[in-house]
Amino acid sequence: MELYELTIHELHRKLKNREVSSVEATRSMLERIGAVEDRVRSFITVTPEEALKNAEAADRRIAKGKIDVLTGIPVALKDIFLTAGIRTTCASRILENFIPPYDSTAVAKLKEKGIVLVGKLNQDEFAMGSSTESSWFGTTRNPWHPDYIPGGSSGGSASCIAARQATATLGTDTGGSIRQPASHCGCVGLKPTYGRVSRYGVIAYASSLDQVGPVTRDVADCAIMLGAVAGHDPKDSTSVNLPVPDYSAALVHDVKGLKIGLPREYFIEGLDPSVKKAMDEAIATYQGLGAEFMEISLPHTDYAVATYYLIATAEASSNLARYDGVRFGHRNTDARGLLDMYMLSRDEGFGTEVKRRIMLGTYALSSGYYDAYYLKAQKVRTLIMRDFIKAFETVDVILTPVAPTPAFKIGEKFNDPLQMYLSDIFTIPVNLAGTCGISVPAGFSREGLPIGVQLIGKPFGEETILRAAYAFEQNTEWHKRKAEM
């Protein structure tokens, strides 16, 4: 097996035993990126020099016996994470040439452990989208089939793992942006509980919903990555000061007696038969492992998408106000006067979907509409949160599809935003409730596109969903299939 194909834990073993060096692993990865990037376009920026420098440093560290599980591992990051000295665009023209002066906390933590940064990954512009089609840098393709989207917004994070262009990646998830692309590309993707991972230095889309999480080849890698970035950060007031458990230690192969809820509202019409089949098979697998199933109700599910598109866009309309061409980012230099400069810079700098959401959010917060939209949405959000709290009184985890359909075709929904928005119907409620969810590979469509299922846990119940996902993975073969390229 080629070095670029290994998981974190496999490569770590080889590095630790000095069977290979990080430089070798990194070269293998850079070659792989070069070989397949034209077909996938996972990256906005590849950083070979930085990568080799990191790899050499990692090898020196390993030689001193100071190896961490992530030392020398080639990692790529969604281009939403600020990386000091390395261009960070958020897939927007407005930040096309933005070189950040500082590292986001998640990146700093990974660097401390000695990762090798191979590049910055494509995404929907400002993480607004479900297909990675809204990127200023072009569309990423699904490694399983070039005509299909990889999902989004962390499309590059998932395609990169499926195409084996990095050992592990980080994404962000505001309404499903880790779990949905992970599902569409056959990877493992986890959205932690809100507050589990610092948002400092992560370009904000919707602050009360955004959360950093890993996209990886398997559940064990997912636990490693989560453990590396989780924890309280004094620079993020919304990060929670709770100890970080040893997530890898939670990966025991046992779900006997685990109570799994099946929310009635998630088995809707319009659920793709292949998704339904994957769900049925997953239920059977868990039953075979001794888990108990019960039907539950999350009665406000129907309102989740509407609620999300009011809250997320309201916050976004304010978060994106700083891109005004004054201090950094794109500026129209022909503008006459201040207002003109604002309008032209933002008009040229932002894409259609971003503008649409800024306008939606601005409207929702406007005087005279605030109560009817934003405030009402906040109230419904509380109800959705309560739905989950109530459900978790009787079950340990909730099992649902990740998306109603497998990956759709490039261009299929791009001009139909409502259809696009509905593709996040099963992931959005988790963000609104602020709890955690993981997507694991659970089947394939007739076209050969991967399908994932989602396990939703209690707030800070990452160990439980990782354990349940691990047990499932160890008893299925889905994660072993690889995209032919």
Partner: protein
């Protein structure tokens, strides 16, 4: 006038914290542009605010000193608007749930005491500063300095309880005194550390429905606030007299002309789209902490003034002057602890001490004539070592050099002459030199007594004990 004036004030006080409200940058004034900035106050992508606890403490202090209720759970909100000095495109402020509510202050105007309601006090960040410059090649250019961005402010909003420009000034002075007393604001109005917007409206006398108001901005002195309000009252009265309607608008005060002019109307008013800032969790303040802060509050001017009257038997006027600033009060109290005659101290502080300080523009905390030196000097007067008149000379020297008064007296030979023989000899000499005057006095022109005292004091170079001079002189003249 047939109109009732209604005024409400919004005051912005910059807090004296070392670091900014949402980041660790210094708040020092006058540094190199943009040298006191970081990703947070520059509004960089991904940067997040973290609340400075000191700001909360100062806000609670202000609230307690103005009789407010402290909100147990208050919320930061974003006020959205675009301007180049506002890096994030929104200002973090408080909106629906401010930290302090329902307070009041008592003011006194023309001998009458009046209670003025305080609607709310909230915390917020300041914006940066634009610098416009003419360049050699590119015409006029604007530069942004973000050193001030994110420095902490309190906004203190009064109820529309003020009924005249004088009341507004009295309220503003009272508030100014309190925040300076608390040590939370330097009160410098010229540098904008304490600034004020005024909402002014008129309604017919006897009406209970407020008229349309104008908001006056850019008022940075007590004199200007009076000018601005008085001008605005006249302007609105003229409009109403002509049967026209006052337009709701924001007006800019121009100190050069003493007038106000329209800045923007209601139609151009911003829709700030306030909403709770999702980057900051609700601010929860426990009663314990509020009580702890209450325990650290200094004695406030009103209470101090009353105590000076009750405890030291000072006249109202003295008590007011001595309690006007915390530093003067501290000086006075330090003196009072060393010397029992409070009124004597008061006379010296209000007289020589404040005069000397004013002359060379010094703060009382830096007064070279420290409370110990001053009271040592007062003891010398009491013991009769020097006269009150000589003491003025001693004070001058003490203020100049900071030397011990006893040493000054000794070095300059200022010890009072209390020897009867010595004084009698001087008197004899004076009387011998002025036989004509003595004659006139003895013939009934008693007014001349003062003349003789003056001559004797002069001859003794001021050192003769004045009481003894009086007594002996009288004896000799009558004799």
């Amino acid at each position: 006038m047939k109109y009732q004036v209604v005024i409400g004030l919004e005051v912005h006080a910059q807090l004296l914290t070392n670091s900014k409200i949402f980041c660790g940058c210094s708040t020092r004034f006058g540094a190199e542009p943009n040298s006191q900035t970081c990703p947070v106050c520059l509004g960089m992508p991904g940067a997040l605010p973290v609340l400075n606890g000191k700001v909360v403490e100062y806000a609670v202090k202000a609230g307690l000193a103005t009789n407010c209720a402290i909100t147990p759970r208050s919320i930061f909100a974003r006020k959205n608007y675009f301007y180049p000095d506002l890096p994030k495109g929104y200002q973090i402020s408080q909106y629906e749930l401010p930290i302090c509510v329902n307070g009041c202050l008592e003011i006194e105007v023309d001998g009458e005491t009046k209670k003025i309601g305080i609607t709310r006090i909230h915390m917020e960040e300041d914006a940066g500063k634009l610098v416009h410059m003419e360049t050699m090649d590119a015409g006029e250019k604007s530069y942004v300095d973000l050193n001030r961005a994110c420095t902490p402010l309190l906004e203190i909003v009064s109820e529309p309880d003020l009924r005249s420009a004088d009341e507004a000034v009295a309220y503003l002075k009272k508030l100014h005194q309190i925040v300076v007393y608390l040590g939370i604001c330097d009160g410098n109005m010229e540098e904008g550390s304490f600034r004020c917007d005024a909402n002014v409206s008129l309604m017919p006398v006897g009406s209970d429905t407020f008229g349309t108001r104008a908001e006056l901005k850019n008022i940075n002195s007590f004199r200007f606030i009076k000018q601005a309000i008085e001008y605005e009252i006249e302007r609105q009265a003229d409009i109403l007299d002509e049967g026209r309607k006052v337009v709701q608008e924001t007006r800019l005060f121009d100190p050069a002309t003493g007038t106000t002019r329209s800045m923007r109307g209601k139609e151009e008013a911003h829709d700030y789209r306030y909403f709770p800032d999702p980057d900051l969790v609700p601010l929860v303040i426990g009663d314990d902490w509020v009580e702890e802060i209450r325990g650290t509050l200094p004695e406030l001017p009103d209470v101090k003034r009353q105590r000076y009257v009750a405890e030291f038997g000072l006249p109202e006027y003295d008590a007011e002057v001595l309690s006007a600033s915390r530093e003067i009060a501290e000086y006075f109290e330090a003196c009072a602890a060393l010397y029992p005659q409070a009124k004597t101290i008061s006379n010296w502080v209000m007289g020589e001490v404040l005069r000397a300080l004013k002359e060379d523009g010094r703060e009382i905390a830096d007064c070279p004539a420290t409370p110990r030196l001053l009271t040592d000097m007062l003891q010398l007067i009491e013991k009769g070592t020097i006269s009150g008149k000589i003491a003025k000379t001693v004070f001058e020297e003490m203020y100049k050099t900071g030397k011990e008064p006893a040493r000054i007296v000794e070095e300059k030979g200022l010890v009072q002459v209390t020897d009867t023989g010595a004084i009698e000899k001087i008197i004899d000499d004076v009387l011998a030199k002025e036989p004509g005057q003595v004659e006139e006095y003895r013939n009934g022109k008693e007014k001349l007594f003062g003349f003789f005292v003056g001559q004797v004091m002069k001859a003794s170079r001021g050192k003769a004990n004045p009481a003894m001079v009086n007594e002996l002189l009288l004896k000799k003249l009558k004799g």
